[in-house]
Symmetry: C2
Subunit: 96 residues, 2 copies
Amino acid sequence: MNILVTYDVKTETPEGRKRLRRVAKTCLGYGQRVQWSVFECSLDPSNLERFKMKLLKIISMDEDSLRIYKLHGDRENAVEAWGLDRYHDFSDTLIL
Amino acid sequence: MNILVTYDVKTETPEGRKRLRRVAKTCLGYGQRVQWSVFECSLDPSNLERFKMKLLKIISMDEDSLRIYKLHGDRENAVEAWGLDRYHDFSDTLIL
């Protein structure tokens, strides 16, 4: 399942900056950073559940925002990207 | 069609900060801000094309990143939101 995770973490306090680092680190373990606070992930339902639980333990419900979008169908049909594009499709054949 | 627009604009220069303001202002005209640089929009294909063209005229292809995701199916099935949620469904009946 192709998943998009986006977040806003309030970073006005040291605790907020710590949460931001932890959210980003957790996301890096499950997907690819495509923008500063946007990650694309390809996950089965159980990994998605695990990922989500980790994020929900980190964020502050009163100060931060976390959104998870399910992208149905092929990734190529669901996304258009312009400008800097950090995404690399690891399911493609790697040509060396 | 439900659309998600996400962007990173490089704001280290006055030109970049101006681009950021213009991108945000354009997005506000077409959808709802759900996070700092994430907007949800409900657009028909011609409005989506117009919106996209406006954004592409503003961003710097070398410095910024713009992504547009198409969310297929019902919005409710495509998105999960935690913490602060700015989204308001204007297609719902308004109870006063």
